[in-house]
Amino acid sequence: MKKSNSTFYLLITPVLLWLLALIVIPHLDMLFRSFRFETDDGLWVFSLNNYLAFFEDSIYWFTFVQTALYSIGVTILAFVVTFPVAFFLTKVVGKRYSSFMTLLLLIPIWIGELVTVYGWMILLRDNGVINSFLLKIGVIDTPVEMLFTNFSMTIGLLYISMLFMIVPMMSALESMDDSLIEAASDLGASKWTIFRQIVIPYTTPGIVSGGIIVFMLVIGDYVAPNILGGKSSLWFTEQIYNKFLATFNWSEGAAFGFLLLLLSSSIVWVALKLSGQKLDKVGS
């Protein structure tokens, strides 16, 4: 008993240290900072001014809502794009090829977000691969502006987050017995009904858990909106970045950071309620 107890503490200490030093303490520090305000006399007082600043300028509001809507949009797109792939890899193609193809899917992660995003720049810019090709085959006669728009930003966000959708979905689909599909078909269900009534409900935990990861990654991403997005593609993380590093207003930056956390958490909460899932179930 004594021995197993000490083993338990030995094993849990790094985890607790990690959580405390890298998550709890920085967050508490930021939380305190967000409520501190420097008066004209140079005194630090408790105040809600940092939060109020958010409501004073409509650009903050606008960015906030745009970030939320685009993040939801990218999450839905990620589902639409990856579901057929996940279904194909788990249910259609044989086991042998499936693991190889899954490996191919994972390769982009090894490269890193920044390089991937620059890769998209090469593809999307005016004299880039896609435009040159379209010009050459004569579909267009002037380059289509794709880079530095909401379109390029969405593509970038989708690309870097997609895989986090596909993996939980594949594991949900893998655990689904093929005979469920056959049984539904035998009972007279069309392909669409099978998809809607059997496959989707069965994989909902996987979809929701993948959705949460994608959403969180996207709403908190900085690189893709900053590099691929244009002037109109404002992302809330950029506002936070500007507060910290452009205006050196750490207190407002902290307040904005907490607003973003509040926003993303409440959207996830609503999504869980809507899909009837529980966080602990989705997490496993």
């Binding site: 017995d177 005979s179 469920l180 056959e182 035998d186 009972l187 007279g188």
Partner: protein, 352 residues
Amino acid sequence: MNYVLEIKNLTKKFGNFTAVDSVSFNVEDGGFFSILGGSGCGKTTLLRMISGFEEETAGDLLIRGESMKGIPPERRPVNIVFQNLALFPMMNVEKNVAFGLQRQRLPKSEVQSRVNEMLERVGLVGFEKKKVTELSGGQRQRVAIARSLVLKPEILLLDEPLGALDRKLREHMKVELKVLQKEIGTTFIYITHDQSEALVMSDTVAVMNEGRFEQIDTPKCLYKNPETSFVAGFVGESNEFDISSYVNGKLTTSKGCILAKQKLDFQPKKLFIRPEAFILNPAADLSGIERIEMQVKSILFDGSNTKIAAIIKSGHQEVLISLPQNAQFEDLREGDDIQVGVHQDDLKCYKD
């Protein structure tokens, strides 16, 4: 004759492998038809062709006289109870049973009344709102059957649905299934590797081996008069002997035991004798039997299924003999010498 299912030279090939090899048979309306065979004999492939999940390589199958060629599973008047039941885990009992009816776009009230009627029939009243994961094995079984039968199929296909149940429940479900089938009158086609399931429940049993039917018969005929050596060895227990010669009405086994057997118009290669065909210490005046001297090697006690393993003295071959559990042979011990009789009719000979 009124056949609900007619199968004509049905063949299925996977690459070079022939899973079902030109099988033909008819199933009578309202019967309990079993297909019995070991694993890999092609019985599941055959079932999947009837249900429409596999496309035949050649041949045809007709349900109520109508060819099912190219008709997808969802439009065939057959339903299947899967080996693992394949109940929908995200739905409760009622929704599972209603699933097929809802696909036919029937009015809600009719769906409800038919579901209730079916649940009553299978004894699941009060379980409507239960999740299927909360049910016992036998109850899940009944949900799976109800889910298919509620659609009133011409044929219900069952793919070893009792395989996952424990022994006691399986014995119980065997009887229940047979009663249910008689009550409802739907034709059942039952796939199994368990001969006892096939023999107990069926009106007709087809024994399948390597993609072909060896024999189609009533359970009793199948047991009493197996037509091929495969059936003789597969259905029920049997003692198998290799025959090395058959001259002048005398069979000689490869181990040298000689038995008289009249009227064979072929050269037999195999001999089968059921354990219960042996008569222990037959009366001296009993005629028409072959008498064999043996020595008891061991007694394998198994309740009503108790057997003796005995050695044929002249042939040094071990055979299994049924031992009735009455007082008559109570004092039989290992090492005892016994005389065993067997009717010539019970010596089943085959040429391959």
